[in-house]
Structure formats: C-alpha cells, structure tokens
Amino acid sequence: MNKPDETMPRKRSRRKTAVSLQIMALLGVLSLFLFSYLPMFGISIAFQNYTLSGGFFRSEWVGLRHFREFLSDPVFIMATRNTLIFSFLRLVIVFPAPIIMALIINEIPYARFKGAVQTISYFPHFIAYVVVAGLWLNIFDLRGLINNVMMNWGLITQRIDFWNSTLYYRSLIMAVDLWRGVGWGTIIYIAAISGVNPELYEAANVDGAGKLRQIWSITIPSILGTIIVMLILQIGGIVRGNLDQSVLFGNIFNRPVSYIIEHYVLDLGFGTMRFSFATAVSLVQGVLSLFLVIGCNWLSKRVSGKSII
C-alpha cells in the first residue's frame, strides 16, 4: 500500500529534473548552433554573390562562377603553391623534430636537469603569437642581434635584411616553428616512451644489444602507434598553413613566398569585401586538406598497417 505514495513524488521530481537538465543541455546546443553550425551552413554563400545589403536571403545565386574564376587567378595559384611548400616542409622538418628530441631527452639520466629542460622548452607554446613574431622580427632585424653578431665576428661585410627578402623566409619560418613547437611536441612522445615495457630493454640487455640498437629496435617501434596518431591529428593543421605566421611575418617584400591561401581569403573578405569569392577559395582549401588527410591516412595504412579513420 505504501508503494504508490513513494513513487508518485519521485516521478514528479524526475520530470522536473529532466526539464532543468534539458535546459542546461539545450543552452549548450543553442550556442553550438549559433556559433558553429550557422557558419557551417554559411559556406553556401560560396555559390552566391553575397552582398552585405542583400544578406543571405536576398543575394543572387551564381552557381560555380567563383570557382571557375579563381582557377585562372595568379594570386590563388601563388598562394596555393606557398601553402603546399610549407605543408611539405612542416611534414619533413617540423613534425619529426619532437620525436627525435623526445628520444634525446629521454636518455638524460639526471632527473632534475631533464625536468628543467622540459619546463623551459614547453614555455614558448604559451606565448602569444604576436609576441613570438615580435621577438623573431627583432632578432633578425637589419639592426638586430644576429646581424650585429655576424658583423662583429666578421662573418658578413654587409648587413642582411632577413625578413624583407624572399631568400631567407622559409628557413626562418622553419626556425620559428621549431622554436615554438619542438618542446611542446615532445610531451606526448616522452609519455609514450615512458610507457614502454621495461622488460623489453632488460631482455635486449641480456642479448647484448647496445643502447642505440635498443632505441632503434624497441623504443621507435613501440611509439610508432603514437607517431601515426599524432600525424593524422596534426595533418589537417599542417596542410591548412599558419595564418598567424603569414599575417605577422609576411610583408610586401617576402609576399611571393609568405602568402598562403588563408591569408588570401582574409584579404579578399576583409580587404575587398568579396565575401562569396573568399568563401569559395576557403571551401576549395578545405576540400584539398580533406583529400590530403585521407591520402595520408591511406599511406600510413599501407606503410604501417595503422590508420585512425
């Protein structure tokens, strides 16, 4: 007889909790809808001639006109070339660097020294990119530290204008990338290395394998899975290019090598107000990246039998 009395209030309170929980969750969904999904649907303006006065609903639909237009646009071709070159350089230089550095740091037997190196090397990751740009622009300035030192030591007779030239830009950008990212990139690999079963090393010791041999035959194969996961996670960003970099280090002199697609999109949108054209360029870039990610995934499956998609 007691039973109904007990369940009745519980049911009501459960309905009440369900309502307040729904409100909490729906607020989140609402914010995703407004700030993530609406922009996603907004990509459709690539097929319009969007004007600020007309807005989305009263702008004219033009189909593939913008796409046809930029295929013959020399600036788009230049920006695409630069984006691809940087993607390639990042893939072969910036991506493997933390792996090598993690292997090196892992061999340090002094715990406190190791900790200090890690603490220092992670730090640049947390600095604003504007500050990173400020530091490097200054050091490689015409009257900056590097020029001063090289002049003092007689390595050069004439100061080099590093940033205002197409000659040094790519090397400098790689240096900036390494400076900012190597330390931070090691975290995940150092964690992966510390997870390798120590019995493997003991067995190798008994078999008389030297340290280098152990790194090659035990450590690297053991962290291969982590490397591939990191590659696939990062490949999207690598092929998209670094907009901060292009905007902050780029100038009129190094433009032929510094200008990337994202920068072009920005200039088209905010500079000349060609919103639809800019979105079309951006869409092609997105599709291009997607293909590269899928290609990379396919390649890693072929090479190592591992993939995450």
Binding site: S13, L32, P39, G55, I105, L283
Partner: protein, 299 residues
C-alpha cells in the same frame, strides 16, 4: 649498486645532455634578450649591443608604456576579457558537460554527437564573420566571450571527470529535494576543482593571447586588446606614433633622457604580455601533462 656504463652509453648521455642544453638555451635566449632590452636604456642598448645584461638598468620603458593611454587601456581590456571569459567559459562548459553526463537527460547521445562534429568541421573565417555580424556581436565586447563559451574539447575533459564522481552523492542530494542546477552548483562544481582549474588556465591563456578576434571582428578603439596593439607596434610608423604620444604627454626632454626607442617600447610591451603567462606557468606546468594525457586517452 653502481652500474657500469659502456662507452656507447656514455657517449649517448653526453650527446643528449649537450643537445638538451642547446635546446634550452636557444629556447630561453630570445625571451631573455627581450627582457634585458626592456629593462635597458633604449638608445644605449642599441648603441652598445647588449647580450647578457641590461645597460643602464631602468624601469622607464615600462613607465612610458603605462603612461600611453592606448597601450594602458588595451592592457586593462585584455584583463577584463580574460577574467570574464574564464569565469563564463568554465562555468558554461562545466554546466553543459554536467547535463550531458546525467543519465536522466533525454537525447544525450544526439547532443554529444552534435558537439563532437564541431571539433572537426567549421565554417571558416568569412562565414563566421558574417554570422557574428548578423547576430550583432561584432564590434561589441561579447564577440570575445560568447562564441568561445562552450569549448567542446574542454567539455569532454570535464565529462570524463564527472563520470568518475560517485552516483550516491547525486542520489542523496536529490532525495533531499535539490534541483539539478543546485546539485551541479553545490556538489559537482566544488568536487571538480582540479579539472576546472586546469581548464581555467588554458582558457585564460587563450583569451590573453588572442589577437585574431579583436583584429578582425572589432574595429572600435575601445575594444582593442594588448596583442592587437602589439601587432600594430610591430610596424615602425605606429611605434613612432606611440613615442610621439609619450613626448606630448611627458615632455620631449623626459622621453629623450629616458632613451625610449621603437625597439625598447616594443620589448617592454612584449614583456608585459609575457609576464602574466610566466606567473601562471608553474601551475600550468603542473596540470598540463596530466590534462594532455587524459585528452589523448579519450581521443
């Protein structure tokens, strides 16, 4: 027991120590250089080429920076948006994450999928700008706060934490007649301080360093934050304009004696941007290795 090291092992240790030392020095020096420059007499530093120690140590550069109304205002604005952004962002992310971990919530899985999709696909800059404009948040303070209030990656971290809290806590609170929002606020939130602190640090650094939003989504001088001003200072003409401002404000004699140059002004501003990060860095350092591990396991 002392382990005898083979020659190969000793070579590897020496090599790794040298390489690590190199990495640490190369990483630290550019920041250190900016530091000593910011504390130096600007013109003397340029003339005598400093490397290890400041020349004629002085705080004048910082005084100049803070006496410049534009830089000073951007500094306050940066603090304001970081403060508001952290409080609202952490609270909102935790709240939605809490709701999504509760079994009573209908459509839980659908909501989670809706959230996770946004981690992989986005609209790109131009559609995003146009949507913000239509929502009338461009060129307002809210463009700093609202779009980033729900961070899906952080939400997944919080959800992992909430799931590990014992169910009995929530049950007993419910029997006492507490509503879900009350349970979230007075039980779930206080119990998850460690993860919330971690997220707060990351959200805070993100807000503090963001230059893109103010540079492209706002135009009002009132809303310019420190990174944008710094970006402008990277151009020589703008930096010179700021120095002229200081001359107008403090007098030419004073500014000349202080030796303020374009470079010293930039360095001082950069150090002002770095210092708060350095201040929270020890806490960040403590948390992020744990955080990144949780994140990678979940992913």
């Amino acid at each position: 027991m002392k382990i005898k090291r083979t020659l190969e092992e000793r070579i590897i240790i020496v090599f790794s120590v040298i390489m690590s030392l190199f990495l640490a020095l190369v990483t630290a020096y550019p920041i250190y250089y900016s530091f000593i420059f910011a504390f130096s007499h600007g013109r003397e530093a340029a003339a005598s080429q400093i490397f290890f120690l400041p020349v004629s140590p002085t705080l004048e550069n910082f005084r100049m920076v803070f006496s410049d109304s534009i830089i000073y205002h951007s500094f306050l604005m940066n603090f304001l948006r970081t403060g508001v952004g952290v409080i609202t962002g952490v609270f909102f992310t935790a709240m939605v994450g809490y709701a999504l971990t509760r079994e009573e919530l209908r459509f839980r899985r659908t909501y989670s999928i809706i959230a996770i999709i946004t981690m992989y696909f986005g609209g790109g800059v131009i559609p995003t700008f146009l949507v913000y404009r239509a929502l009338m948040i461009t060129n307002t303070f809210w463009v700093f706060i609202l779009p980033g209030m729900l961070n899906v990656f952080h939400m997944l971290l919080v959800m992992a934490f909430f799931r590990d809290l014992p169910d009995s806590l929530f049950e007993s609170a419910k029997i006492d007649g507490a509503g879900e929002f009350k349970i979230f606020r007075s039980i779930a939130l206080p119990l998850s301080k460690p993860i919330l602190a971690t997220i707060a640090l990351f959200v805070g650094v993100g807000h503090w360093n963001d230059w893109f939003t103010p540079a492209f989504f706002t135009s009002s001088p009132r809303l310019q934050t420190l990174p944008v001003i710094l970006m402008r200072l990277l151009s020589a003409t703008e930096a010179q304009a700021r120095i002229n401002e200081s001359i107008a404000h403090l007098g030419a004699v004073h500014v000349t004696n202080a030796g303020l140059t374009v470079e010293s002004l930039r360095h001082a501003t950069m150090i002002i941007s770095i210092l708060p990060i350095m201040f929270v860095y020890p806490f960040l350092r403590k948390f992020f290795e744990k955080g990144i591990m949780i994140g990678s396991i979940k992913a």
